[in-house]
């Protein structure tokens, strides 16, 4: 036996690896994918297929070109690429599931390439990216090809549940168009192919929680914050309990909270910071929805908060445990947010 020297520790946790974590997200997406294909059939298959193909090809070509520039020998299959550890396929699936079913294939492809390239590769690949690649791709096509992204109902974008909400945020007629049970199951309402069904997303979220493959604190605080702020508005406007539930179930909130905001690479690293992060996401999403000009706030709030992740993790204040001081400041911020919401609602009418 040859004796070699290493540094301690010599043991590693047996079943921990990054591939398992990424694969779990893919598995958790299966119910959502299944429902999307059941409901939109070929359109969903096309969108999912094109975006997987686009993202994987982009990454593969990028690394092959990089290797070529470094003068390495060409290898058809290089096991060192992060391509093989499910991170790319996860991004591609998440990206495709946020798209409306009427999106043409070339728009899907452009978004996939842009998301992969500008969202991930340009920063240095897996683990280095600032923004969620799926969110970058989606934002890219929202800006560039907004009019192409149509839903299969006869109207243009904006007729989803949240579109109605955006036109008239505090109207009680919201329910006349969309029943809460439909929003929950996702049957019979328009929306992005993966975001419509709350139940499928929750099944995926539960699976991830059970496998500890994501940080459950982020979606929990995110959803609770939106729910809480909507409750405040509901009480103020005398709207009833359906209003916060409507907010939580409609749009991409559940999908974004469970699958996009929890990407560990683009979220803060300590427990308290993750809670603050979820809270900030909730506040931004709610404000964009109610006061902003866009029908949907999830995507942009995630991108905006991704930018602030290094701020959450700045060594001067990041702490791996809650302290009395941080709890105090957090409470004050929560109270201020509620106040701000009420002031806003008062002026919006």
């Amino acid at each position: 036996m040859k004796i070699i020297r290493k540094t301690s520790p010599y043991l590693r946790r047996p079943n921990a690896n990054a591939t398992r974590m990424m694969r779990d997200v893919t598995v958790a997406l299966l119910p959502v994918i299944g429902l999307a294909i059941y409901k939109y059939q070929m359109a969903a298959v096309m969108i999912i297929g094109v975006s997987i193909l686009g993202m994987m090809a982009t990454e593969y070509i990028f690394y092959q070109v990089q290797d070529m520039l470094n003068g390495d020998k060409f290898k058809l299959k290089n096991k060192n690429y992060s391509l093989y550890n499910f991170s790319t396929i996860t991004s591609a699936l998440i990206y495709s599931l946020t798209l409306p079913d009427g999106t043409p294939w070339f728009v899907v492809l452009v978004g996939a390439i842009a998301g992969m390239f500008f969202g991930k590769l340009i920063f240095g690949g897996l683990g280095q990216n600032i923004f969620n690649p799926a969110a970058v791709g989606r934002a890219f096509i929202v800006v560039a090809y907004g009019t192409f992204m149509t839903f299969s109902v006869d109207t243009v974008a904006g007729s989803t549940a949240l579109g109605v909400l955006n036109d008239n945020p505090f109207s009680a007629d919201l329910l006349s168009n969309f029943a809460l049970i439909d929003l929950f199951t996702g049957i019979g309402i328009p929306g992005s192919i993966g975001e419509i069904s709350a139940i499928a997303i929750l099944i995926g979220g539960l699976y991830l929680t059970f496998r500890t493959s994501f940080e459950v604190r982020i979606p929990l605080t995110y959803i609770l914050t939106v729910f809480g702020l909507a409750t405040v508005v509901a009480i103020y406007k005398d709207l009833g309990i359906w209003y916060p539930v409507f907010h939580v179930l409609s749009g991409g909130l559940l999908f974004g909270a469970v699958f996009m905001a929890t990407d560990p690479v683009t979220s803060p690293i300590t427990k308290p910071s993750r809670i603050y992060f979820g809270f900030a996401l909730g506040v931004l999403t709610f404000f964009i929805r109610v006061f902003g000009g866009l029908p949907e706030g999830v995507l942009f709030s995630i991108l905006i908060m991704n930018m602030f992740v290094p701020t959450f993790d700045y060594f001067k204040w990041s702490n791996s445990r809650f302290t009395k001081k941080s709890m105090f400041i957090f409470t004050i911020i929560i109270l201020l947010t509620i106040l701000l919401t009420l002031v806003g609602v008062y002026y919006v009418g």
Partner: protein, 432 residues
Amino acid sequence: MIKKSRFVSDYKKLTMTLPTLRYVDPERVYIHLQNARCKTYTLDVKEGDKVLLGEVIGVRHGGFFEQPIHATVSGTVEGVEKKFHRTGRKTDVVVIRNDYQEKYHSSVVDRPDSVIEKLTQDDFVEIVKDRSLVGLGGSGFPTYVKLATKEKIDTIVINAVECEPYLTSDYRLILEHPQRVITGLKYMMQALGVKKGVIAIKAKYKPLYEVLNQVLRRNHELDIEVKRIGNHYPQGWEIEVFKWALGIEIPHGELPMKYGVIGFNVSTTVGVYDAIKHNLPVIKRYFTVTGDAVKFPQNIRVRVGTSVRELIDACDGYVDDVEEGLVVLGGPMMGTSMTSDDVIVSKTTTSVIILKNVDYKEEPCVRCGSCVYSCPVKIQPVQIMNAVKRNDKEVMKGLEAYKCIECGLCAYVCTSKIHVTDYVRKAKKLIG
């Protein structure tokens, strides 16, 4: 996996139930003249001299203390050689050839209980210093310095947690000699004028709890409690033991004595018993030879100064088809990896672990945060790692890298199998 995980698979089953073998008569013993704390020495014997068991053959000079060196066999001195110490450095050793006579030096005489009852703290300190007892759990800190404390101590805590995976030497020691542990603790309580003693063991070690309580029932005048504390790692870290056994939290950089508690390792306690009762220096100790690359893992009672190679042979050697292996002295989480198996068992060596070499494939950090969640000193290993990569000393200091106890948990839990501990260690060195 994003979770706090402080349970390390412990592999103790390999040796836990095995009775201790005896390997107390090696042909030669090698006694270290230097160690991690003492760089210089004077040797009073020369080649050809006859020495007796327990005889003082020289003195190690440390920074603020001196340690007498005792012969651990009776026999003939064969000169000075260089051998590996458990810290991984080559040090001078004196070689003594065993004459198998077991002749004790005249200083090694039993003390009657009536004499022991009258000893004062200063007497205890003098005996322990003279017998050169040090922290046998691996710290190597001179025990007399601790015993000589002038602070008011309320509780003595015996650390018998042994949280490192694989190690079972302390476990077997308590199981086989609970009386010595209790008596050693009794002596220390007498020395420090302490009324209360606590023996901290792992919650899952039910047999230890039972044997210790059985002995305590016979000594009911003593206020000693056996506490079963958590099973997690690093439960055996002194600060963690105090926190779980007594509920006292000691901030970083402060001495536990200030808070009225003092901790001793269980082997040290037995060392105190030997020193006080039999006036014996540490000549034998419990030692575990284990790991997945050794044929028959064993607990062995060995003489201090035995070559580890002999002990591995006594366990029938290495597993045949292993190409590369690690020889680790100490536990697999914090121990030192050796370049050779030609190491000598010193007083403070608890075990040797022979592991098959596994080269873990490092993946990029996905910032899952498991290391931050699991860190026992509540620092952020991954952030320190990033600071080391860009050589930002201000951030390393700001993230309190100096608090790290190098328990190795961050590398153990890492989802991407990155050697995070190494980076934190580097940070500690960089910020001095």
